[in-house]
């Protein structure tokens, strides 16, 4: 009998998660006795994810690996899943501790927080105003990274974070918020968008405003979606971890747990070709370092994800 | 003489009703044909067939020896048939000119509406109809009479050979009715064929040349007006002779029941004071728009008076809503049956019991058996014709709907009943029934206020009459001293003008 592992994403159709699914399928093929159910709501709501989780519980899947739309709201549903013997992990965007067995961060939050401001600072030797365009105000991972970023802000002399706005991972809203930033802060030098939807919209808005060269858009994005903007110069560089690896690792960890591995502080869980992940006091672990893309390498990766 | 238009063998059915069966009609140029029949006899249906709104199930329409069909209202207009319909068919938000020309507005060479020509043409038409006002103002800013003139201008806007008027005088005052007569004379002189529908016999004998009578959707008689009497027509219409038209019983008038003093409203009426006694029928006469309905509605708490007091059986009453009026024993049978009276979409029995629910129910919970009993009792007293009591009132004929509405108010066991135009648009047979019923109510000790714009009805039924004009009481008359002339004078304000009030 095949083991059923459900990969629950924030919403169907987002390129990042499609890529993660690719990785999960790869893991399933490698393992042989695993069936991956790729599912999620149509829009990024917690209620939608709960309905999905309820139906997965009913199907008696063996493990659920979820990238959460809301840290807290999923907890009761996931607790119920664990009560019924289902292994639950979160990945990418985490669930509060009591709602999962472990959380797989794509990278360490501190590293990402540092990375996104460093990308902005590297292109601003003289310093200047930068603004943050986040996803929805409720997105867990974005909020964590921005918090981490603010912690290390002092290390970058002259870099002045003037505002944080929210594009809700909607292209048009992100676009309009960027326009607002450009108007409100005439001296803006960079926009940091730690979200793959926001970074594309921001680059588009900067291009439309004729500010290419004056405002650098950076943050976290997918090479395939950003290739054009890197070429045009709207974005000098951006970072991301490999979402394929992330989906692959989450599946592998879930499989490990199904086979009896225990998730507790200090434990090491197997991630196939990605090695192992060591859990901290919060039962969290980081997969790998983020990787930086710029004009030199973006074309090559655009073909992959 | 050759008819301008001929109908032959026309039949039309609606689900469950055969509205017209095999009727024929010919209209002659330069002559007025009166179409007469009880409510639901099929008159308006015929008009709608003639103007392309309904399609006949069978039969032919012939114009100038040619068979024609009218698939839409526009095609009928093009063939030279135009109508002033029974219902208002105008648009409040559009300008007067546009109301006149909607659907056949003059266009420029790009096919776009030519507003300049439209307004000029409208102005000319209005003048022809005897109205002289700016055609660019919005219709909603006009009074009811002017609106009616717009409807007439609209009918004249198509170059028609056949003009149909479906109860055109129902909403007009004395003066306007006379202007309408003059217009009809002019149309006659122009050689138009006119079809005139009315329930008022004085009108018919005054302006019609020929008559056609329908009963239950069939043709029962036609000929020249000069050859018949009113009684003949009534017999053809109803199928029997109608007895005493105003069956007023002599009733001993008792002590005052309702006393109104100093009622006023900032814009609608003022200084209304009167007393109503037990067993009395008090008539309220006035021209349309004199403010009678407005005042009556303030008595039951629909509009709020700014000052005034009401005493019922000597006790001062403050009425803020119809619910309170009903509880106090004052009920109002409204003028607009369709809008204010019947609740179409609900069964007959629920219509009847709606204001009496507090009596049929127990601590807020419905008791269907009680409801059916109450509804059965009152609908039987009014001789309602229906298939069952849980039938939607909307499926009843107009007269039967009116019976349900009256039953609804009687079921509340009122002390005072106000009937606003209770026989408006009702045929002569039902009219007699309503009048008989009113008499009976009075003889049982109820006090009745009857609002009416028909002089014969007022004179036939009232013990006393109050005349209203422009929101004020313009005269009071006892039955003994009542003459039609006095009523008209008071209603039109002929005496006050002598007193020299600046106008």
């Amino acid at each position: 009998e095949n083991k059923k592992i459900a990969l629950v994403v924030k919403a169907l159709g987002i390129g990042f998660f499609e890529a993660a699914n690719k990785g999960a399928q790869e893991a399933a093929k490698e393992l042989g006795d695993v069936e991956v159910i790729y599912t999620g709501p149509t829009s990024t709501t917690a209620e939608g994810q709960i309905e999905v989780i309820n139906s997965l519980i009913a199907q008696k899947v063996d493990a659920i690996a979820v990238s959460a739309n809301d840290t807290d709201a999923l907890v009761p549903a996931l607790k119920k899943a664990m009560d019924r013997g289902i292994k639950v992990i979160s990945w990418d965007s985490g669930v509060a501790k009591e709602g999962r067995m472990m959380h797989l961060n794509p990278s360490s939050n501190a590293l990402i927080g540092n990375m996104i401001i460093k990308l902005a600072a590297d292109n601003l030797p003289e310093g200047g105003d930068v603004a943050v365009l986040s996803a929805s105000a409720t997105a867990t991972n974005q909020n964590t990274w921005i918090a981490e970023m603010k912690k290390v802000q002092a290390n970058y002399k002259g870099i002045n974070v003037v505002a944080t706005v929210y594009g809700d991972d909607l292209a048009d809203k992100s676009y309009r918020e960027t326009q607002g930033l450009i108007q409100s802060y005439p001296n803006l030098k960079a926009i940091i968008a730690p979200t793959s939807v926001g970074i594309v919209a921001a680059a588009q808005a900067v291009t439309d405003a004729g500010k290419v060269g004056q405002i650098n858009v950076t943050g976290l994005g997918l090479p395939s979606e950003m290739a054009g903007h890197v070429k045009s110069g709207a974005s000098k560089s951006f970072a991301i971890w490999n979402p394929i690896d992330l989906g692959y690792s989450a599946t592998m960890i879930a499989y490990d747990l199904i086979n009896g591995a225990e998730a507790k502080p200090g434990a090491e869980l197997k991630m196939g070709r990605m090695g192992t992940v060591k859990l901290d006091d919060n039962n969290e672990g980081a997969m790998a370092d983020p990787f930086v893309y710029d004009a030199k390498n973006v074309e090559e990766f655009a073909k992959i994800f | 003489m050759k008819p301008a238009i001929t109908l032959e063998g026309i039949s039309k059915s609606f689900p469950g009703v055969r509205a017209l069966s095999d009727v024929s009609l010919a209209l002659y140029p330069g002559s007025v044909t009166a179409l007469i029949g009880e409510n639901g006899a099929g008159k308006s249906t015929l008009v709608k067939i003639l103007t392309g709104i309904y399609q006949p199930d069978s039969g032919v329409i012939r114009v100038a020896d040619e068979d024609v069909t009218f698939p839409t209202a526009l095609s009928a207009a093009r063939a030279g048939v135009t109508a002033i319909h029974q219902e208002t068919v105008l648009f409040d938000e559009l300008s007067v000119a546009e109301n006149i020309f909607l659907g056949h507005a003059p266009r420029n060479r790009f096919g776009l509406i030519d507003w300049k020509k439209l307004n000029a043409d409208a102005q000319a038409l209005l003048q022809r109809a005897g109205a002289d006002f700016d055609p660019t103002i919005r219709l909603r800013d006009l009074g009811i009479a002017k609106k009616h003139l717009v409807a007439i201008a609209r009918a004249l806007s198509v170059d028609a050979q056949v003009v149909i008027m479906d109860e055109p005088t129902a909403a007009l005052s004395h003066k306007e009715i006379h202007e309408l007569y003059a217009l009809i004379e002019r149309l006659k002189a122009d050689g138009k064929a006119i079809l005139f529908i009315s329930h008022k016999f004085d009108e018919i004998f005054r302006i019609a040349d020929r008559y056609t009578v329908f009963r239950d959707g069939t043709l029962v008689g036609e000929g020249l007006i000069a050859d018949v009497s009113q009684d003949d027509l009534v017999r053809m219409m109803v199928g029997r002779a109608v007895g005493s038209v105003y069956p007023k019983k002599a009733v001993a008038i008792g002590e005052p029941v309702l006393a109104v003093s100093g009622y006023r409203h900032p814009t609608e009426f003022e200084d209304i004071s009167f007393e109503l006694r037990r067993g009395e029928i008090l008539g309220f006469y006035g021209l349309v728009g004199a403010g009678r309905s407005e005042f009556m509605q303030s008595l039951i708490g629909i509009t709020r008076p700014s000052a005034g007091a009401v005493r019922l059986d000597g006790e001062v009453l403050v009425i803020r809503s119809p619910a309170e009026a009903i509880r106090a024993g004052i009920v109002y049978v409204p003028e607009e049956r369709g809008r204010q009276g019947a609740i179409i979409g609900m069964p007959i029995f629920q219509n009847v019991t709606l204001p009496s629910l507090s009596r049929t129910s127990r601590s807020g919970f419905l008791k269907l058996a009680n409801e059916f009993a109450l509804a059965r009792e009152y609908t039987a007293r009014l001789d309602l014709r229906a298939a069952s009591l849980d039938q939607d009132v909307g499926t009843l004929s107009g007269g039967n709907q009116q019976k349900v509405v009256i039953a609804k108010w009687l079921a509340t066991k009122p002390k005072v009943i106000i009937l606003d135009e209770p026989t408006k648009g009702i045929d002569i047979g039902s009219k007699a029934a309503v009048h008989a019923f009113m008499s009976e109510l009075a003889s049982q000790g109820l006090s009745v206020i009857m609002v009416s714009s028909e002089i014969p009805e007022i004179m036939g039924m009232s013990d006393r009459v109050i005349v209203m004009r422009e929101g004020r009481i313009a005269g009071r008359f006892d039955r003994a001293e009542l003459t039609a002339e006095k009523l008209v004078r008071a209603a039109a304000g002929i005496e006050t003008q002598v007193n020299g009030r600046a106008a």
Binding site: G13, Q179 | L90, R472
Partner: protein, 327 residues
């Protein structure tokens, strides 16, 4: 005198309100009132303007179109897919295709309302979910991103003619066309007649159902056009674009004085209503009002607008007393 004129004319009142709003914003952020910025605000509102024009026609006939945003999304997605699949396809052809599809979707709404007599709100509530669902079926939920669209596809709305982007020009063109249709064609007048008094419209030879049908075709076509504009402007297409936008469109119409009961409203009203929302949306981030307050503010504005319009619409009572009339 001036005040009286203002109170009588809804459009002027709204224009004044917008002027006051812009002045207030200028107090805190003078740069907002530069010509360039205001032109930018207009450009940003263009799509809403076009959609409001379509919704206006529908509301005038006493109907409502809740499916406009879903229609927009579907047409936008199809335009993007066409472009991605055949990058060589001329852009005007793609626009025509989007408009044709929009018209078709509008036709479906219209036909259901006309031929089956289903209440408009039910029809469009149903097609709202169906149209959006179709996008998902079509794409499997996948996005179409900027790099998959041809440059010409993305460039058109941004192209500047006489210093103003084509997007703005297109919306101005639509306004001009709608002024012509509403004021100078029998169809436009029929919209008013059907909504103002459907019963009477029949007697005037106007086919009520067919007029409503055409109103839906019109709103569908405009939604189709907006679909292309939206997708090319934001350079992305996915299932959820313009989700919830149907209520913004209706709000614009309501603020613009178009009566939800039908028969009352005008093209300038719809345009100004859309602009009012556009100014608020664009100004709030600029004047540093928390983005979180935006929703509450637009809600309050809608309520005030309805209250004001209802006051203006309230018929002046028939005055019977001669004395009162003189006052």
């Amino acid at each position: 005198m001036m005040a009286k004129l203002l109170l009588k004319n809804r459009e002027l009142l709204l224009l004044a309100a917008i002027a006051v709003l812009v002045a207030l914003i200028a107090l805190r952020f003078p740069a907002f009132v530069t010509v360039a910025n205001l032109a930018g605000v207009y450009n940003d509102t263009s799509i809403l303007v076009i959609l409001a024009l379509g919704q206006m026609a529908v509301i005038l006939t006493r109907c409502i179109d809740l499916s406009m945003a879903a229609n927009l999304a579907l047409c936008g997605m199809v335009a993007a897919m066409l472009n991605a699949a055949f990058p060589g396809l001329p852009i005007p052809l793609i626009i025509l295709a989007a408009m044709a599809l929009g018209a078709l979707l509008g036709t479906i709404n219209g036909a259901l309302v006309w031929k089956l007599d289903i209440p408009p709100i039910v029809v469009t509530l149903g097609t709202l979910t169906i149209y959006r669902g179709l996008i998902f079926l079509l794409t499997d939920g996948k996005w179409i991103n900027a790099h998959e669209m041809s440059d010409a596809f993305k460039a058109l709305p941004r192209l500047e003619l006489a210093g103003t982007p084509v997007l703005s020009w297109l919306s101005l063109l639509m306004i001009a066309l709608m002024v012509l249709v509403m004021g100078r064609t029998p169809l436009g007048r029929a919209f008013y007649a059907v909504g103002g008094n459907p019963h009477a419209a029949v007697y005037t030879g106007i086919d009520v159902g067919r007029t409503r049908f055409f109103a839906y075709c019109l709103s569908g076509t405009l939604a189709g056009l907006s679909g292309y504009l939206w997708v090319s402007r934001y350079a992305v297409a996915y299932v959820d674009i313009a989700a919830g936008f149907e209520l913004d469109i209706i709000a614009a119409c309501v603020i613009g004085g178009i009566s939800i009961a039908g028969g009352i409203g005008s093209v300038p009203g719809a345009v100004l209503g859309a602009l009012f929302l556009g100014v608020i949306k664009n100004a709030l981030p600029v004047i540093n009002i928390s983005p979180f307050a935006q929703m509450a503010i637009s809600g309050t504005v809608i309520i005030i607008a309805v209250a004001v319009n209802a006051r203006a619409e309230r018929r002046k009572g028939r005055v019977i007393l001669k004395k009162a009339e003189a006052v």
